[in-house]
């Protein structure tokens, strides 16, 4: 990181011991949330009766009222 105003210390290490735990968790919450969006799109607002997930074949079955 160098520019004409400030010349960066190239020997300095700015690679922090970073955890990506929260970023991955957000992806998980969005993934779960997306199944609710799918239920609303397929069955309408409050129209879904049940959703069953088959994790082996990665299939979700939406039953509407």
């Amino acid at each position: 990181m160098s520019n004409s105003m400030i010349i960066a210390d190239v020997s300095a290490n700015y690679a922090a011991k970073e955890g990506v735990v929260i970023a991955v968790a957000l992806a998980w919450v969005l993934m779960i949330g997306s199944s609710t969006i799918a239920a609303i799109i397929l069955c309408g607002w409050k129209g879904a009766k049940s959703i069953s997930m088959d994790w082996r074949s990665m299939r979700a079955t939406f039953a509407c009222r």
């Binding site: 990181m1 010349i7 020997s11 011991k17 955890g19 949330g33 609710t36």
Partner: protein, 279 residues
Amino acid sequence: MNVVEQTLGLLSESDFVSLSAGVKLKDTILTDRANGARHYVTKNARRPLRLLGVGMTLSSWLEASNLTEFQAFEIIRFVNGIGCLQIQRSRLQGMRHLGRRAQLRLRGVQLQIPAKRYSATVLGVVNAVLRALRPILVAVLVSFGLAYGANMLTGSYIAGHLVLVGSLAVTTTLHEYVHLYIAQSQGANAQVVVRGLRIGVLHQPLSPVYEVLSALTGPLTGLVAAAVVMALTLAVNPSMFVVLSAGIVCVFHCVSWLPEYGDGVALKKYWRNRHERTT
């Protein structure tokens, strides 16, 4: 708006800007106490950085520092790049600022992610984790609204998300605290840095053995703590979704060991150096 769209969406004119604690300008050198960096500051940038050290609103800083737009842009981008630009604004200003960022994003501007530093204490880690968790909390609340509309807002759906957020808060705090503890036990200065969803500990270099120890034990502590939370959840609430929500946090901590991310990068660097020494 300008100064290159207030440095690509980071700032608004009324924001109070300053340098983080631990970053000081001494003559021509900007020292960063967290990792011992010494950046050389050219003549034109000294007064603006000194003013930034004192802290003032962005508009006052731009007026007093007497810089061209591009010079101001360069300084702000650099200071945020090393994670030491402190930005303070009221909640109302914060809401307006979010709107401006959304506008810039829609125009295809690649926005800068603001970084915030916290002290190397337990409270500092807790505050950092709570800040990083904010987007998750928003996502969970939105997900509850959607689940209501999809007739999925059951007890186990709510409990699963609450367990996930609780487990994340506790185990991430432990994960980061272990990094901090190892750095401090070796006499290294450190600070906790949050940049968007990423939280990390910035510290002075450690010996290779301690770098590896830190990179291994941080995620391991998080993983073990998450496993304990999962076991407790299983004992209290045997719902499949709730247990899965608690258990998945173990996997999230393991992701930190991938070579692309912080802890994995430290491990990769160690193995590469070791391999080079032996060959």
